[in-house]
Point group: C2
Chain length 336, copies 2
């Protein structure tokens, strides 16, 4: 392993001159610089990042903890985060928490945390009860969900508002028996799904319709298979339904598929709307109406907030909260 020592010797200069060249320090004579660069090239020297990290106390890497990177929403989020982070000189290490509260806490508490300059935690399992646990002396930014009064800066989806608008849209299209398909904590008012149920309820009641808990269908996750499974239960339940609001797009794709299997036509027999506006929503058949948060804005804000936290390490975190803009995108699945 070739070190700065070797380069220095080869170039006939001191260790420090090599360091200065590498770090673009101003006071190096042109000739010296060139000699050093040549030596670096000749020896194929690469800086030892571990040593630099040890010296500087920084790693240049931020952690991104998401439930599952293979879900379109998180893949698309990760792409943006990686891009933004790169622009700020950070690499991104991705951790998968599998959407479990334990793993999210683990990601937060793990000793490995010191590997990263900061952590971007896309949480789904943590609730207000865990607020204390987030009180770590470590740069953390929450992404994607709101935690009531959390001590950590977070960038949130417009869960309640977006859901309300989505359901209002369904109602404006003539729906009156609207089902909600979402995740297990749907009924407990915390987490993304819970907040979206709240928006759903506000819209339903705001329109003078009855909030009927038999129209709430619980899923075990936010995935296509679960969407399909629960849509099957909905169909077999015999409950009268003319529209479905899904807690995310992946669920909606599963629902569309299951409805097609049963010969239920969308939008003719049933309206379907999702949440997230993943790329696929534009291309599904029928194309999927959905709530579109501003993904770029969210990723940018999250990385910027985290970078700021990292920069002024030691300072107490101000519990900044940013809620993304959104709009309801109307596509075929709700076009009457």
């Amino acid at each position: 392993m070739v070190t700065m020592h070797d380069v220095a010797r080869a170039a006939g200069v001191s260790l420090m001159t090599v360091s200065n060249v590498i770090n673009d320090h101003p006071h190096v004579k042109q000739g010296t610089r060139e000699r050093v660069l040549e030596a670096i090239d000749a020896l194929n020297y690469k800086v030892n990042v571990a040593a630099r990290n040890l010296r500087s106390g920084r790693t240049g890497t931020i952690g991104l903890a998401v439930p599952e990177i293979d879900r379109p929403y998180f893949g698309q989020l990760a792409a943006l985060v990686i891009e933004r982070a790169a622009a700020r000189g950070f690499r991104v290490a991705v951790e998968q928490t599998g959407a479990s509260r334990e793993n999210e806490l683990e990601a937060l508490a793990a000793s490995r945390i010191r590997l990263y300059d900061g952590l971007l935690l896309s949480t789904v399992g943590l609730g207000p009860a865990d607020a204390d646990l987030l009180n770590v002396e470590y740069p953390v930014v929450l992404l994607g969900e709101r935690i009531f009064d959390g001590p950590v800066p977070h960038v949130a989806m417009p869960n309640v508002e977006g859901a309300r608008s989505a359901v209002e849209h369904l109602i404006s299209q003539g729906a009156s028996r609207i089902a909600f398909i979402g995740s297990p904590e749907s009924l407990s008012e915390i987490g993304a799904s819970g907040l979206r149920v709240r928006g759903y309820r506000e819209a339903v009641e705001g329109a003078g319709l009855a909030f009927d808990s038999r129209l709430l269908f619980r899923t075990a996750s936010f995935s296509m298979p679960e969407g399909a499974r629960v849509a099957g239960m909905l169909i077999n339940s015999g409950v009268d339904v003319d529209a479905v609001f899904c807690a995310n797009d992946s669920l909606a794709f599963g629902v569309l598929r299951r409805l097609a299997d049963s010969g239920v036509r969308v939008p003719d027999d049933m309206l379907v709307i999702g949440f997230d506006d993943v790329l696929e929503a534009r291309y599904s058949i029928p194309s999927l109406s959905t709530v579109a948060p501003d993904h770029v804005q969210m990723a940018t804000a999250a990385v910027d907030l985290l970078a700021a936290r990292i920069a002024k390490a030691g300072t107490a975190a101000e519990p900044t909260e940013l809620v993304s803009d959104y709009r309801v995108v109307m596509r075929e699945s709700t076009s009457v």
Copy 2:
């Protein structure tokens, strides 16, 4: 920042004893161990990974360079890689190359490379001409494509064979005018797309059909928008086509969408088959027939190969090559 020093002082032992406790060395008396652990707990000590890395010369992190993490195939691949790597004690940092040859080389050559113990490079832009550049004294495993006689171990898709089987399937379903939709290097016989064209050609000619270059449609990328765009060109070209083989599933989804827009029914008027078998293929409408490589096998093999390379660092890389098993999954898009 609390260090081992602090812990040692608090526990009334030496630095080394703390180190030995942390690393589960055998020769530490029970009582001492407990005292140290208590101190660690009380002070909330966490090991400094940078220092450990400097000492050990390893980082515990591998890099995964993919074109775009927001494409379903790569998201699903990354999920598996991260999982397998975690099982072997490695973290995974994801880099996006944007599918450009420059960025792939950059990922390979960057000084940052020393940040990782090894690199998993999912290449699309590199060709045989770049074989030399891969001759780095650094653990690298190529993923997803074959490079002729490359000096680096690689885990490859069954590009030629899979494509041949896909097209043979189309033919067995009665197709005779089969279009290929794939990426720009389609005609030059390198890269995933080129290899898939080869399989396409073998199947077509093997069935006694004419290989007609007017049936080859070039895309600028492997994305849904490109699939839709090129499908539009196909429709407007007036060329007589009764089936389409797409170089990947994302292109196929775009094609399905565009065909639907033009009232072309799948599979009644046109058969469509893809490549990759991403999760979405099972849920699209119509569901997508496709070539299914063994993703788990590929991810596992890639991580295992890389881990092996890392373990015996210094040794010359044996150019191991592993081609994934595959099968053609028949779904609605080719069910006559």
